[in-house]
Subunit: 342 residues, 2 copies
DNA sequence: CTGAAAGCGCTTACAG
DNA sequence: CTGAAAGCGCTTACAG
């Protein structure tokens, strides 16, 4: 049972008739302890119900076994962040780490965690970094505190990202092979690197399938559902297309809403493809064909890499790009354009 | 700029020509420091770029300013947990706390956090607690470590929960007032307290509107989409109803899928109501009428209560029930049953 | 209002 | 393989 009195390492040492140093070594699996001694100490810790104080340990060892994970403000819109965090936690738990979650709006607190030596490292979901992020990255580098970016790379810092080009290329191949002839791409905010990569991947994929890029049209959007709706409205007022590829799922949803309002049948008259595999994608009617970023894998790799940096104090040049998967659902499925097949 | 060398409280003291104790008092806003002294110390900390070491502070003060938040295994199915966590973080940040996130599967790690004095308190999302949870609750109580349960109450521990009875009662009033005459309720897993409360609220609400409970029918489910689908299939094979109230949104979705497959028009021929305001509810076609639990408010109250317990070492008898809101959408909207109105 | 000193509970060279 | 001792960087009675 163990009485609720506070036990310290000295109590264990006294009980075992050894020194505090030896108990410490046993806890830290130091090879230099005689096996019998180690066993005795372990038995004592068990018997007494002793648990080392994390704060004392962290103070003297200079290591907290805690990392911070910084997610975007509106991670709610993208529940795949849950998968990311699950992955990070899975690795963390198996390696004895804990994770402190922070939204980007509390970046100043993250900075304080760093200043106060409260974390061994940080995983940042980096999108469009501001001066604050850059200052923090710089500070951490100077301090020698490991961190890793998920998403947009910055400078030469370690990063892990989704293969946006490859994902869009897969969409392109699919559309071309299915015989779609006129495609509208709805862009994200100007200069947003993901959108740029997705468009690039689309062009590469279409080109290599012999698709004439004159039949690829571009519209501006800002990732919001509304912008997708308006892009569709504006475009279809004067033009036609048999497929729309939106740079993200929310804009694809906007297109779908436009079609529903205007009696355009999806996928019969128009194929719609998004990107992100947003949480609602499978629940829409029709369900949305999209590209799924490997969030779980990203989390695993991110945390494993971070731990490696922390424990080996090596600064490996981590630059990882993980493939995204095309998820075919009803909004753009095979065989809807058989008549137009080449 | 500040050189990257490690500054300690002694450096600040030396710089100010005062003692380490005084610097400490200034950091902790101790009233007993002369204002001029305090100012000088603060200026020095600023100038030197000093930041106190959290671990040292935690060790000597016996307080970590960290709390753990335990969420269910499959919190991914219920992104309203993001709102809960956001709320907890909002309060935490403003009060200088950090949160360590843990899924229930890692309850053993939570136990270790407690044993090792790594957290000042814990917020548990409690559903159907196992022996492990009970043991941990008991241990924390014995240690005098504050914790609070969200959801199902246990023993006399502090808890915060949704008013399931009231939410379902609102649904009942609405259905009765709209003139629905024959209602099917799909239950959750046997003995699940939320489902029981929702059914109770439904009965109360219907009764007080003069609805004859002989026209309320019950079906078994287990909260899964499939169970909702099958409950509908089984029931409608031999019976009729003009409204279905499912104990959660996923089962309501199952009913909706059944209707779609069998050409039953929603809401024209059948009204469907769920519970939870699950993330997909607004994206379904038709969008789902449901009851929205006040997750953000729950998070706020939970964290504020926990901090109060931590900082005042009072053990207030916290038992809070927060109201849930009926969200009327397309699947069961006003005026669909005008012919049947009493 | 301020300081000297003990203490929080560990880890880790250093010696042996 | 083991121990004595210093040290990690704070907080907090205790005295004044």
């Amino acid at each position: 049972m163990g009485t609720p009195e506070k036990l310290t390492i000295d109590d264990v040492a006294k009980y075992c008739g050894c020194s505090r140093a030896t108990v410490s070594r046993v806890m830290n699996h130091d090879k230099r302890v005689r096996p019998e001694t180690a066993e005795a100490v372990e038995a004592a810790m068990e018997k007494l119900g002793y648990h080392p104080n994390s704060m004392a340990r962290a103070l003297s060892a200079g290591k907290t076994n805690t990392v911070a994970v910084v997610v975007p403000e509106k991670w709610q819109e993208q529940p795949y962040y849950i998968k990311l965090i699950d992955a990070i936690e899975d690795v963390a738990d198996s390696r004895g780490y804990n994770i402190i979650l922070k939204r980007r709006k509390y970046i100043d607190s993250v900075s304080e965690l760093v200043n106060r030596k409260q974390v061994d490292g940080v995983i940042f979901r980096n999108m469009e970094e501001t001066g604050k992020e850059l200052a923090l990255y710089g500070k951490m580098e100077r301090m020698g505190l490991p961190f890793i970016l998920i998403g947009k790379p910055v400078s030469t810092y370690p990063f892990i990202k989704v293969d946006n080009v490859g994902g869009a290329r897969a969409v392109a191949s699919y559309l071309a092979e299915e015989g779609y002839k006129k495609i509208l791409f709805i862009k994200g905010p100007e200069l947003h690197v993901d959108s740029i990569d997705r468009l690039a991947g689309l062009k590469i994929g279409l080109s290599e399938k012999g698709f004439n890029l004159d039949n690829l049209f571009l519209s501006d959007g800002d990732y919001s559902t509304e912008s997708g709706y308006h892009a569709a409205k504006e475009y279809f007022a004067k033009n036609k297309a048999d497929a729309v590829f939106a740079a993200n799922d929310r804009m694809a949803l906007g297109v779908l809403l436009y079609c529903r309002e205007n009696g355009i049948k999806v996928p019969e008259e128009l194929g719609i493809v998004g990107f992100d595999d947003n949480f609602f994608a499978e629940y829409l009617t029709p369900s949305l064909t999209t590209v799924k970023p490997p969030m779980y894998e990203i989390g695993i790799v991110a945390m494993e890499s971070l731990i490696r940096m922390i424990e080996n104090s090596e600064r490996p040049n981590i630059r990882v790009i993980l493939p995204a998967e095309l998820i075919i659902r009803e909004s753009c499925r095979a065989g809807m354009k058989p008549d137009k097949k080449t």
